[in-house]
């Protein structure tokens, strides 16, 4: 009896250590990646100069007189993400309302897995479909020489962020107590009035979390965007070929060398800081929701 107890105690202890070790792995990787990015990203910024690097409008990394200004990438990432949010959030939110409050059970049972599937599609597939279908369509529709531009990228990003926005805001909508709605109906409000005036305000911080999550997904996306945006380091304009922060790193990494390579790490560092800020914002929003 005593022996069995001892054994069990030992087992518990071992498992405890195992759990802690696995927990440490995640933290360790975050620390390693952060440390590595900072160490490898700073030298180029130091050499180029922070102001020239962040605010320079010309990126010509392999020119005889190389210039490393990443303002075009920053602006493109910011514009592209914001525009994707402007398109994706209303569509996603209304879809979530439909799924949570309006749809008959049978229809919701078909829609929900479809949305989950949309989240599961690899980004390269989004890119491929965008490249084959969307890019030529944009070219035809607007009479351009080439359809690979910011506009195409925005459309692809808006579709890609839909699933995260839908599922997070649907959860938020479902969490609103039934009594609120019932009270609203009792007062004679219609379904639409109830949704917009009662349920949405009650779920607003959850929806805010969905928006921030969507921003995070859009700003970090590389593969799909690379295939539809054209990747030329222009200052952003809707129908011009543009390069995002992510694609700036990805597209030149293969053959880069010297300062060019270091500068790519610096871009990764800037992107990392952006993502960090978004995560901090997300935590802030979620915390406020809990209160």
């Amino acid at each position: 009896m005593n022996k069995a107890k001892k054994l069990l105690g030992l087992f518990e202890k071992t498992m405890h250590i195992l759990f802690a070790a696995c927990g440490l792995v995640a933290v360790a990787f975050v620390l390693i990646i952060t440390g590595y990015l900072i160490i490898s990203g700073l030298p180029a910024i130091k050499e180029i100069g922070l102001k020239e690097f962040l605010l320079g409008k010309v990126w010509a990394s392999t020119a005889t007189d190389p210039r490393f200004g990443i303002l075009p990438f920053i602006c493109t990432s910011v514009y592209g993400t914001l525009a994707a949010i402007v398109i994706g959030v209303p569509v996603g939110l209304l879809c979530a309302i439909f799924l949570a409050k309006m749809a008959p059970k049978k229809i919701a049972a078909v829609f929900r897995p479809a949305v989950d599937l949309l989240a599961g599609i690899p980004s390269v597939v989004y890119g491929l479909v965008g490249m084959i279908l969307l890019v030529p369509a944009v070219r035809e529709a607007f009479g351009l020489a080439d359809g690979a531009n910011l506009f195409s990228a925005i459309i692809v990003l808006a579709i890609m962020i839909l699933p995260s926005i839908i599922s997070v805001s649907e959860t938020a909508l479902c969490a609103v107590p039934k009594e609120y709605e019932e009270a609203s109906y009792a007062l004679g409000a219609t379904k639409t009035e109830t949704v917009f005036k009662v349920v949405l305000p009650a779920a607003k911080s959850g929806i805010a979390a969905a928006v921030v999550l969507g921003i995070g997904r859009a700003i970090g996306e590389a593969m799909a965007v690379m295939m539809v945006a054209g990747n030329v380091a222009n200052m952003p304009s809707l129908f011009k070929s543009v390069r995002f922060l992510t694609t700036a790193v990805a597209s030149e990494m293969a053959y880069s060398s010297g300062l060019q390579r270091q500068a790519l790490f610096s871009i990764a560092l800037v992107l990392f800081i952006f993502i960090m800020l978004i995560n901090v914002l997300l935590n802030f929003v979620i915390k406020r929701e809990k209160k």
Binding site: A63, A145, D146, G147, N231, S241, S251, E252, A254, Y255
Partner: protein, 278 residues
């Protein structure tokens, strides 16, 4: 119990697969024994693919030889070999007269770049000057070069790509190209040109398939023959640079002989370049 069983099975299968992978490597044996050491090459980034293929072909036969490649750029490679910091310098241009004083350049391969357009495009021929003007944004409509009234979309490669470097140096459009897309692989360029009737692009001759149309440049079609004879203009030499009068180490000489022999031709073709006419 079932779960544990299936787990063991899964591990077993994975292990078997891994063992299978390992075996393949040790199978092929043979070739010249005894040759061992390191060959260091240094220079042109454009020659990376060619050198990788040559290196693979050479080390397959000579297991104890290591070939290193340092992608520094043509001029840096020429300097490195003249200072004795590497065995063989790599340059994707011919040696200048002052460099020829103490160095010898041997052409290992020719980089032939095809100018491609969409199959629907009526333009069949472009002059080198027209190509340069199109890429610099001085000609923006196909009707100015004998095609339909449509804007031109210039498709190119990313900064750092050897093909881009080659194209821009031959057409003298360095740092002046106004691209509408910068793609990261030859395949992407071909695919994009195949999908866009307004597009013009460039790609290594070897990788051009019949999904796109290669235009003639100054009336000369891009083929292995016209590139070898020098008639086709959009080409440049891949040169191995050695020090005149200084003997190479035994392994370096063996690698040099291998690279410049007919044996290497198929490897060079696989790497997307054109072998030298022998």
């Amino acid at each position: 119990m079932k779960k544990i069983l299936s787990l063991i099975l899964a591990i077993g299968i994975t292990a078997a697969a891994l063992v299978g992978c390992g075996e393949e490597k040790t199978e092929s044996n043979g070739g010249t024994e005894g040759l061992s050491g390191t060959v260091s090459t240094d220079g042109s980034t454009s020659m990376e693919t060619v050198i990788e293929f040559l290196k693979e072909g050479f080390t397959e036969k000579n297991k104890n030889v290591k070939v290193t490649y340092n992608p520094t750029g043509s001029s840096a490679g020429i300097q490195a070999v003249s200072e004795g910091r590497c065995d063989i310098g790599l340059a994707s241009r011919d040696l200048k007269d002052d460099e020829k004083a103490e160095l010898t350049g041997t052409v290992v391969a020719i980089d032939g770049i095809a100018i491609i357009v969409n199959k629907e495009n009526g333009v069949k021929n472009l002059t080198l000057e027209q190509i340069a003007k199109i890429y610099k944004g001085e000609i923006t409509n196909w009707k100015d070069v004998g095609g339909a009234d449509a804007q031109i979309a210039c498709i190119g490669r990313e900064a750092g790509s050897g093909t881009r470097d080659g194209f821009e140096s031959i057409t003298e459009t360095e740092d002046a190209c106004k691209y509408s897309q910068e793609l990261t692989s030859t395949g992407d360029v071909i695919q994009t040109v195949a999908n866009n009737p307004n597009a013009i692009g460039y790609a290594s001759l070897a990788s051009v398939k019949d999904t796109v149309k290669a235009v003639t440049v100054d009336g000369v079609e891009a083929t292995t023959e016209t590139i070898q004879s020098g008639e086709y203009k959009v080409q440049r030499n891949f040169v191995m640079v050695t020090k005149t009068g200084t003997e190479l180490s035994k392994v370096a000489q063996a690698f040099f002989d291998f690279a410049t022999s007919g044996e290497a031709d198929s490897l060079i073709e696989e790497a997307g370049a054109v072998p030298v006419k022998r």
